[in-house]
């Protein structure tokens, strides 16, 4: 590896901040001189720090699990330990919603107008006896994520099995994933298998690793403390 410093287009900026950067961020004039960015997006409103993406990037912490709909179940357990399960056939027999929503990934891409089909959590949680304010959602493969129950009810969350008219691809969480589009997309657990209600909040997989318990993209809640 070479350690020589090659010529830099533009060269050092003589009027730049040099060796005395300000203590606090925000003095935009001194930062990243010569950066102009893309044409500003029109007709859409991006949450802070996000950019519009046409593709559908994949992010997961481990291998994609093989989940067979013949053995798939989704189980809701309340704070008393009472469980209620649905098979794939049960899920398909429930009222289905079509949802066209914008999604926002904490890795900064946002995708507008994604089309999903699935079952509203309002339907699945309707008869569950619970006063819990939080839920831990679990996945095939071991992933977990915590959410307030309030963010799962009121037409804001689904167990989604169809994307853009086709069965949800395993890379994107198929056969079924949680879909909570108003929160950063790591909350929309892929390969979803369980939802456990809990009176007090506990962190899930990424939340234990420093990511935010709620994850509202409009308030840019990426990390704990944001």
């Amino acid at each position: 590896m070479t350690s020589a410093t090659p010529p830099v287009p533009g060269g050092p900026d003589p009027a730049g901040p040099g060796s005395a950067p300000p203590d606090s961020a925000g003095s935009g004039a001194t930062l990243t001189p010569g950066f102009h960015g893309r044409a500003r997006p029109e007709g859409v409103i991006l949450p802070p720090g996000q950019y519009a993406e046409e593709g559908f990037p994949v992010l997961s912490a481990g291998p994609t699990p093989n989940v067979n709909t013949a053995t798939w179940t989704f189980t809701v357990t309340n704070e008393s330990g009472i469980a209620k399960s649905w098979t794939w056939a049960d899920l398909m027999a429930l009222p289905q919603d079509e949802a066209t929503v914008d999604i926002h990934c904490v890795t900064r891409w946002s995708k507008f107008g994604t089309r999903w089909r699935g079952v509203s959590l309002d339907v699945l949680l309707a008869d569950v006896d619970s006063t819990a304010d939080f839920a831990m959602v679990g996945s095939y493969g071991g992933y977990t994520t915590n959410l307030p129950v309030a963010d799962l009810l009121g037409g804001k969350a689904w167990i989604a099995h169809t994307f853009d008219g086709a069965p949800l691809h395993p890379e994107h969480g198929g056969p079924a994933r949680l879909l909570v589009p108003h929160l950063y997309f790591w909350k929309s657990a892929k390969w979803v298998r369980s939802l456990t209600l809990m009176p007090t909040d506990r962190p899930g997989f990424w939340e234990k690793l420093g990511y935010h318990d709620l994850g509202d993209p409009w308030r840019e809640q990426r990390y704990q403390g944001d």
Binding site: L31, G34, L209
Partner: protein, 274 residues
């Protein structure tokens, strides 16, 4: 919303709030499409190998763009007491990121080609506690690294961490890259490997061969993975980083060969990088 015990694990991985200003002190060309940026980050608290940092770029009209980049440097590289000083004590630190230019990208061409030496950029981090290797915590368990393209960057941080710690944990790396000229850190990888202290690297080319190529240009095969990696019986820690297609193909092969999915940690660079 803290855990009732008050002892939440998340605090160990807490991301420092707010942005801080870093200065570009050196740029090294790594390949025709990649450069390493050496950033001086006052008060950098240190990082684990494999973590990333966020950068924020600001245009004259106030428009900002944020991206995440893996840290390339090993955890103790610095100009001052970068580690162990605690969050309350100021320290200075050098942090390196290696940026691959994405065609038509908004940020990467600027960082690789135009961001001037001595200029400032906002950074935040380190971030991430999953795709990490820590010599003090993880030494002794064999490590199997699989990197595709610029997925080598966080993996290289692990190789450097091992070297900086004087650690002899058996490491095997398979690095898949399009052509010889696209390779990142080829001389350093070779220098690590010839030391004979338990680090082995196999580099394969998917598009065009070089004179030193192990075989013809094609993607990594299952038998190559089995030959150049660790068998599942050794229960290695496995790290896979690269574009989604690479990570999917490799992790499928790993699981098919008997590696426990729970020991396979992945990090993907989506097509949206840039």
């Amino acid at each position: 919303m803290t855990d009732a015990t008050g002892a939440r694990l998340g605090e160990r991985y807490a991301v420092r709030s707010g942005w801080q200003v870093a200065t570009l002190v050196e740029r090294r060309i790594e390949s025709p499409s990649a450069a390493t940026l050496v950033l001086d980050v006052p008060g950098w608290p240190g990082h684990q190998a494999g973590q990333h940092l966020d950068v924020r770029l600001t245009a004259p009209d106030g428009y900002t763009a944020e991206r995440s980049y893996s840290v390339a440097s090993g955890p103790t590289l610095g100009t001052g007491p970068t580690l162990g000083t605690g969050p309350d004590e100021p320290s200075t630190g050098r942090v390196e990121i290696t940026v691959q230019r994405v065609r038509d990208g908004e940020v990467s061409p600027y960082l690789v080609d135009a961001f001037p030496l001595g200029a400032a950029i906002e950074v935040r981090g380190p971030i991430g506690g999953w795709f990490v290797w820590d010599a003090a915590r993880d030494a002794g368990t064999p490590v199997f690294l699989l990197a595709g393209g610029s997925g080598l960057v966080p993996v290289m941080s692990m190789v450097r961490a091992r070297r900086l710690a004087g650690d002899r944990t058996p490491f095997r790396l398979i690095y898949s890259v399009r052509t010889a000229e696209d390779q990142l850190y080829p001389d350093e990888l070779e220098a690590h490997a010839v030391r004979g202290d338990g680090f082995e690297a196999s580099t394969i080319f998917t598009r065009a061969v070089s004179l030193k190529a192990l075989r013809g240009p094609r993607r990594l095969t299952a038998s190559e993975l089995a030959t150049w990696g660790w068998p599942p019986e050794l229960e290695p820690r496995v790290y896979v980083c690269g574009p989604t297609g690479f990570v999917e193909a490799v992790s499928r092969m790993l699981v098919a060969q008997g590696h426990d999915p729970a020991r396979v940690r992945t990090e993907r660079f989506g097509p949206a990088a840039g």
